[in-house]
């Protein structure tokens, strides 16, 4: 059954059709949320809320956008709202960088090298949290989630040219903020 048929059936109240759509996209939506919040339970909860919103908004879904882009757009807006609300509650300080990994997996089972790698990743994500939301969003979609230029443009709702310039500024800012924690030398394009 193709995606459009599933959407039509879901609109007519067929839960089994919506279930199929959810199973097609739940990992992607969860991964997107996780890329921002770096917490399994919070990301899961956000993914649930995103699909609930999508279910309630099915009547307003427009065929031309494609379900994947549409659900990503809902996800990005929902995560943005979540980040805005949570930023009111807590402020992440750069002093927190290097405090250790976020809660991923069972720490006791992770080997020393993997733990080191995870620490480094956590550093960059903590720095990412201190960046303006529009830069954080574009870096997560492009460099963490690996969405194409065109997909990023459609999901955020900006022109591909703007994606280009915003991405450049975001990467530059991240590199500057991460300067004290990067010791790499050399490199090729």
């Amino acid at each position: 059954m193709d995606e459009m048929t599933l959407i039509e059936l879901s609109r007519n109240g067929r839960r089994d059709a919506f279930e199929t759509l959810v199973r097609m996209y739940n990992r992607k939506v969860f991964a997107l949320a996780y890329g921002f919040v770096r917490d399994q339970a919070t990301a899961d909860d956000l993914a649930q809320e995103i699909f609930l919103k999508a279910y309630q908004s099915l009547p307003s879904f427009r065929v031309e956008s494609g379900f994947g882009t549409w659900i990503y757009r809902i996800a990005v807006n929902h995560v943005k709202d979540h980040l805005r609300k949570s930023s009111r509650r807590k402020t992440v300080s750069l002093d927190q960088v290097g405090e250790g990994p976020a809660a991923v997996g069972d720490g006791a089972e992770i080997r020393a090298h993997e733990r080191e790698e995870e620490n480094r990743r956590s550093e960059v994500f903590r720095v990412l949290e201190t960046m303006p939301p529009k830069y954080r969003m574009i870096l997560t979609l492009r460099d963490v989630e690996g969405l194409s230029y065109e997909e990023v443009a459609r999901v955020i709702g900006i022109a591909p040219g703007t994606v280009d310039s915003r991405l450049f500024r975001a990467r530059k800012m991240l590199r500057k903020k991460m300067e004290p924690y990067l010791q790499t030398e050399g490199g090729r394009p």
């Binding site: 839960r15 739940n26 990467r171 050399g186």
Partner: protein
Amino acid sequence: MNCRRVERRLLASFDRGLPASTRQSVERHLEACPGCRKRAGKYGELRKRLSGVRVPELLPRFWERLESRIGESDVMGASALWARLWARAIPVSLSLIAGFAVATLFFLPSSRTADLSGPEALFLTEGNPIAETKSIIDEGSRDIRDLTVLFAAYEQPVGKR
């Protein structure tokens, strides 16, 4: 090619590659410029860290949990619909009651008719003065009839006639 342009080309190469000639000039610049070489390494490291994120598994029974939330939202949606209908029903009922009251006041005969004189009462209640006069003439003796007709226009309350 200056350092700023190299940085831009370098970052563009992460997304869509570079034409062979541009790539060669960027590489030549990197060989000659230690600052840009270092920066390129840092961008590479950042990219590796960002893309290497390990995403844990979804929590169990994702769909089942979502389905129950959908069910709850449907129930809440129905309750909200009823609440909205009730909220609309209250002002509609009030306006109907007010309309009815106004119509009653406007269309019911006024009780002030009792304070009117005979001719006023006849005129305002669309009575027939000729029939009224005829009924006076038809009753009683001639003297009484004359006096009654003569003073018929006296302002007396209708109820006393």
